[in-house]
């Protein structure tokens, strides 16, 4: 099937879902609180000229990206350090297995009391929750590096650092990138959650909370959710495109083996 048919079908799907949502709310099957799809989309479009909302988006984005960047740097560094020192790796494994399943949103109350500024709390929380997927992926990827490739370099007299730099890190990089993509989604959930609980009106979550007061504006709430979804989708698409460009050799190899 050609690409065009896919786009046409996808457009039909989106239009269909919007039309059904519109009909359901107009016909009054559901609760009257369900706003028509057209007004939700209109609100979402109006947000482009709404400085108050755009400031909120900026605040969310800032904490999200900062936390994600910090987590990437730290988790990759820790992952490399751990996988080159087996005794430390063994000892941290228990720690990782205990700390990873703690739902990071459970730390929201702790973040509220531990940090004086809201941005600081948000960044720390995103950092904490984003660390785990990246760290885990780095550890597993480095463990699964083809030993033959390492031995090839070793047989040519390369040292440990050279092997790490030339074989281990490049072959682990695509998996690390996948970890970053997972972390981006998790981080967005966490930052919005924090804002919903304790945003003081800051960020997308805080904005959504404000629309609730005074009777509630469901159309604004859904438009805000659409924006959040768009941000998540855009970042995801961007990261996937970046991965494809950077790791073309990897895509070729995995597709050939599939």
């Amino acid at each position: 099937m050609t690409n065009r048919a896919r786009i046409v079908r996808g457009t039909i799907g989106v239009a269909g879902v919007v039309a059904v949502a519109e009909l359901v709310s107009r016909a009054g099957f559901a609760d009257t609180s369900l706003p028509p799809a057209s007004s939700v989309l209109l609100r979402a479009a109006e947000f482009f000229g709404d400085t108050e909302f755009l400031t909120a988006v900026g605040s969310t984005l800032e904490a999200w990206i900062l936390g994600l960047l910090l987590a990437t740097v730290v988790a990759v560094a820790v992952g490399i350090a751990l996988s080159t020192t087996p005794w430390l790796n063994r000892a941290t494994r228990v720690l990782v297995e205990f700390m990873r399943p703690i739902p990071s949103v459970a730390l929201i109350p702790l973040a509220i009391v531990s940090f004086s500024s809201i941005t600081e709390s948000k960044v720390s929380l995103v950092f904490y929750s984003a660390c785990w997927p990246i760290l885990i992926n780095t550890l597993y990827a480095l463990r699964d590096v083809d030993p033959l490739a390492k031995e090839t370099l070793r047989s040519f007299g390369f040292g440990k650092a050279a092997i790490l730099l030339r074989v281990s890190v490049p072959s682990a990089a695509p998996f690390v990138a996948t970890g970053v993509r997972i972390s981006a989604a998790v981080g967005l959930v966490v930052v919005v959650s924090f804002e919903l609980v304790a945003g003081n009106g800051e960020g997308i979550g805080g904005y959504l909370l404000q629309t609730q007061s005074g009777g509630g504006r469901p159309d604004l709430m859904l438009a805000g959710a659409i924006w959040a979804g768009m941000l998540g989708a855009l970042i995801n698409v961007g990261l996937v495109a970046l991965e494809r460009r950077t790791f073309r050799w990897h895509a070729v190899r995995t597709e050939a083996s599939a």
């Binding site: 005794w87 000892a91 459970a106 109350p109 979804g229």
Partner: protein, 285 residues
């Protein structure tokens, strides 16, 4: 630096003197010393600094026990508060997850079978998956008001995506030869779905269910933090607002234990149902 000894010295057999009991002991020490060290440091520093925000672990454990597990033996040592906190959380979690699992599985099978349906719904699904589920909580509160319905909707909406997309992918990628074998022997309809397609897709379906269970716990907590007066999340936020920090820490520990427990139980179930998968692939390669 010698090259050969650098690899995994700890995993080498200890030779003829290695008594099994001793080996387990040294294995335990090499794994646990760091955790013990960190907890010990935390305990000492917290006692010296008397920081209200970071109570010593011993206090957290004591409060943890008092709050939830100091009840009568007839109630399995659960306190009344434990029943009050755990019950709504568990009910919402299991209802939301089960709802997502059933709907996600059914839709996933449909999408996996039909290429046209997949292409029509792909953008909608990709977008739905990208919406952070907590952003819908205010809307769900308006529609359903505070309470179980709102929480179950949040959980179900949030965790349906991994099940749906993994099921669709699993069903789509069933081996062609397996389907042709079914065709040759006249295995069609419900028999084919239950005996061929679903078992073949099961490894991917289980992976989706596992991810969604972990995420369901997250959404359970967040929905209780925002819109509930009962449940473990509500305990967390109310103890934070009352500045009862050891109680808040106990709640975090409780959620961590729950997360580990869910992981472990699910891994057991998975091993029970997918033993053929790991075994078949272990022998193939």
């Amino acid at each position: 630096m010698t090259v050969i000894t650098g690899d995994h010295p700890a995993e080498r057999p200890t030779g003829p003197t290695g008594v099994p009991g001793l080996r387990i002991l040294t294995g335990g020490v090499t794994r646990l010393w760091l955790v013990a060290l960190l907890v010990g440091c935390w305990e000492i520093i917290a006692r010296i600094k008397q920081d209200a925000y970071f109570p010593p672990p011993s206090t957290i454990v004591r409060v943890f026990h008092e709050l939830w597990f100091s009840g009568p033996a007839t109630h399995l040592f659960l306190t009344d508060k434990a029943l009050d906190d755990f019950q709504p959380s568990f009910v919402n979690l299991s209802c939301g997850w089960a709802l997502a699992a059933v709907v996600g599985l059914a839709l996933g099978v449909l999408l996996g079978r039909s290429r046209v349906a997949r292409e029509i719904l792909d953008p909608v699904l990709q977008f739905g998956r990208a919406i952070p589920p907590p952003t819908l909580i205010p809307f769900f509160i308006v529609v359903f008001d505070f309470g179980a319905q709102m929480q179950i909707s949040t959980i179900a909406f949030g965790v349906i995506w991994p099940v749906l997309l993994n099921t669709a992918d699993g069903v789509r990628t069933v081996e062609k030869l397996q389907l042709e074998t079914a065709e040759v022997f006249g295995i069609t309809g419900a028999t084919r779905l239950l005996r061929i397609t679903l078992p073949a897709a099961a490894p991917k379906i289980f992976a989706g269910l596992r991810v969604s269970l972990g995420f369901a716990l997250v959404l359970m907590v967040i929905s209780e933090l925002i819109g509930s007066t009962t449940g473990i999340g509500a305990h967390l936020i109310s103890s934070q607002q009352g500045m009862e920090l050891p109680e808040m820490w106990a709640g975090i520990v409780l959620l961590g234990i729950l997360g580990c427990l869910f992981n472990a139980v699910f891994a057991l179930v998975e091993r029970r149902f997918l033993s053929w998968h790991s075994n078949a692939h272990g022998l193939d390669s």
